[in-house]
Symmetry: C2
Subunit: 463 residues, 2 copies
Amino acid sequence: MLTATALASLHALFGIRLSTAAAVLAEHGQSESLVTAGLPDAVVFPATTVEVAALARLATAHRFALIGWGAGTSLEGHALAVEGGVTVDFRNMTAVLEVRPEDRLVRVQPGISREALNRELRTTGLMFPVDPGANASIGGMAATRASGTTAVRYGTMRDNVRALEVVLADGRVIRTGTGAPKSSAGYDLTALLVGSEGTLGLITELTLQLYGQPEAMMTAVAAFSAVGQAVDCVMATMQMGLVPARIEFLDADTVAACNAFSGLALPHAPQLLVEFHGHPEGVAEDARRFREIAEGFGARGLQLAERPEDRTRLWAARHAAYHAILASRPGARAVVTDVCVPISRLAEAIEETRADIAASDIPGPILGHVGDGNFHAILMVRPEDAIEVATARMLAARMANRALRLGGTITGEHGVGFGKLGHMAAEHGEAWQVMGALKQALDPLGLMNPGKLIPGQGRASLA
Amino acid sequence: MLTATALASLHALFGIRLSTAAAVLAEHGQSESLVTAGLPDAVVFPATTVEVAALARLATAHRFALIGWGAGTSLEGHALAVEGGVTVDFRNMTAVLEVRPEDRLVRVQPGISREALNRELRTTGLMFPVDPGANASIGGMAATRASGTTAVRYGTMRDNVRALEVVLADGRVIRTGTGAPKSSAGYDLTALLVGSEGTLGLITELTLQLYGQPEAMMTAVAAFSAVGQAVDCVMATMQMGLVPARIEFLDADTVAACNAFSGLALPHAPQLLVEFHGHPEGVAEDARRFREIAEGFGARGLQLAERPEDRTRLWAARHAAYHAILASRPGARAVVTDVCVPISRLAEAIEETRADIAASDIPGPILGHVGDGNFHAILMVRPEDAIEVATARMLAARMANRALRLGGTITGEHGVGFGKLGHMAAEHGEAWQVMGALKQALDPLGLMNPGKLIPGQGRASLA
């Protein structure tokens, strides 16, 4: 789909930072999940906004697609080329452009990873808390509206991206947002672009909200006899006005996998893993109150971890849960599901999902960010077994439908890509057509990440 | 501009809930500020979403404008008809449709006022904290992306509107958002519509985030010898990780007006009025730490108010500040300005603004939500004195330009309406054209609140 003329223009712009090598194309045709698509026709590695804008003008002139690429950790095929085109890999745009400690802001390029950003911030006393697990790029996290374990306290990318620089399909460069903490000056373009998955433009710069590194942290882990009691404990905790920094649910199978993989000895039962941030007095009282609430719901053996090494061990195990679960079935790959429901329906959603998976032939431990009503089943399949793969896809589709029936959403944090396209009409109804109209207004040629998120433009051939 | 046929259709739809009476038109041609425009041709009082949708279809068929009206408390002319049309007054749509305590959500119609909503919530232990001062309608607050004293802790309408039902220009009814606390399922239409000032559609239902009524509250008031020290104290407070529920600045003139109006005896000096919410142990420690920080910046006579009657007296005085200031110059009306800057530039912004006002012939006390970098000057003019009015407008324009120069925004919470239209290009550059393209996509005939927010469509004659 890339003409010789287009390729020559790209070569003139990018020189050796343009590649059509098979290995490079293959690298950008892969995904961490089972979602697959074709290969891009070329990959470019821009170094500046000016180059990205010139690239968009070329794309418009020659009618080729542009697909943004951060760290390649998305789970629904967001960064895959469904109809060829040019993948825009931001690995050369990873600078921290400005740290503003007094405003608790940082301005970065999109390719920087969240771990690299936090390493750069360490000496400032500040942190960027959004933590999706994977060491994703900040630009990709914004494009996907990612969140993770800390959203219950610090919010998602929706809440923590304060300003953007974006290259539109026609090569115009716009800036959204300001350095002020809030604004009522017109449409919230920042919020529209966060979560737009590269379908409206390519993010070339982000201003992020930072937070002080907490003076004190306390982690608690508690076992419950049933999922419902753990979830009721979460609801009561939130209703009492406690604001944990993290409140994570692990079902018994997830706990078993973590015990085996990370050398823990937690009871084989549903667990809550909770963390409080603040000053020592506040955190101690938070933990005392949480213990009281949890024990009211039958929690057993609640342990508090205040020493950094103990906290780190628990959270490292939580972060390794995905790999721990995969290791529990050698040779398996995962269909990672992601739904989010009102917290009042969470126990029901998890129990029904568990029963559905238990009635199937594949294992699927469940874990989640339950303070947000968000959970995942890690459905493990032998990738060569078509029946297992189909079963996992059916279970995932049923989870999405269940989330909608319970008043929730088909994706809490992983996004749509093309993996969840088939559920968008059911979630949004006529509002999905409105998304299509907005896309049409900003990208009338359909060049920006085609085949993703919006109603079919008759171009993409979807998996 | 309303044809006889259109009027007959409106009459068939609304019966006695359609008015063209001069007094009713005049009531809807007024504004709390000095911003003025023409009158609508008619006012309707819908009772249901179905009626609003039918109204939009009529507007499309007969090409008349629709202007939403909540409580009429907006300050930049948002709800005024600049070219006639039909004002849609939501006073008959004030129901609390559903309270969901476990999810801390409430679903309401747009016409309910924030005070009425909180009265209805009182027995539930929950509250809706967004507090713009005026007893605005919830629909209007969402349309304006309002905030107020509590945004520093609880966020603005951007953060607290979770789902919407909206009638589009062509009569389609869409629902955005779900009951889940977060979602990555496509464009964030809720965020696009919050702050769109009725230019993209009419909000007919809102789902709001609620919070537990705090177990303990503590208010502190502290006097500083200079604006800069008060602002530095705010920055240090935020950087130390303290999260006040409110942190308000009052300059010495505002304090004097409040003393006279509300019978306080605060020192004639810049003051911070701070409140902490939480559990008793956390709040006590917050207050202790705040005292330490404030005294480090030279605060004198810091008083703590824990008893409800003492706290109420202070906050009632703060809420009456606007009227207290107006009372200090009998016969005056106010040009109320509203800018927001990065907190690192706040002292500079306030000092320059004070100097600018001091060099003019009109009084303009300054107060603001300084935890957000947001402040207001209440520029008092004799409305019949054209020179004073022009002076106030010049000072306001200079404030907006100053905010932009310091990296901030022309409006922190009052919105654009048509009062701030002239500054939009300076703030947004090319992004303002993008707003125009989005408007064009959803309202191609320009029927929804014409003359507001977006680049000129060649229809409105602006003040």
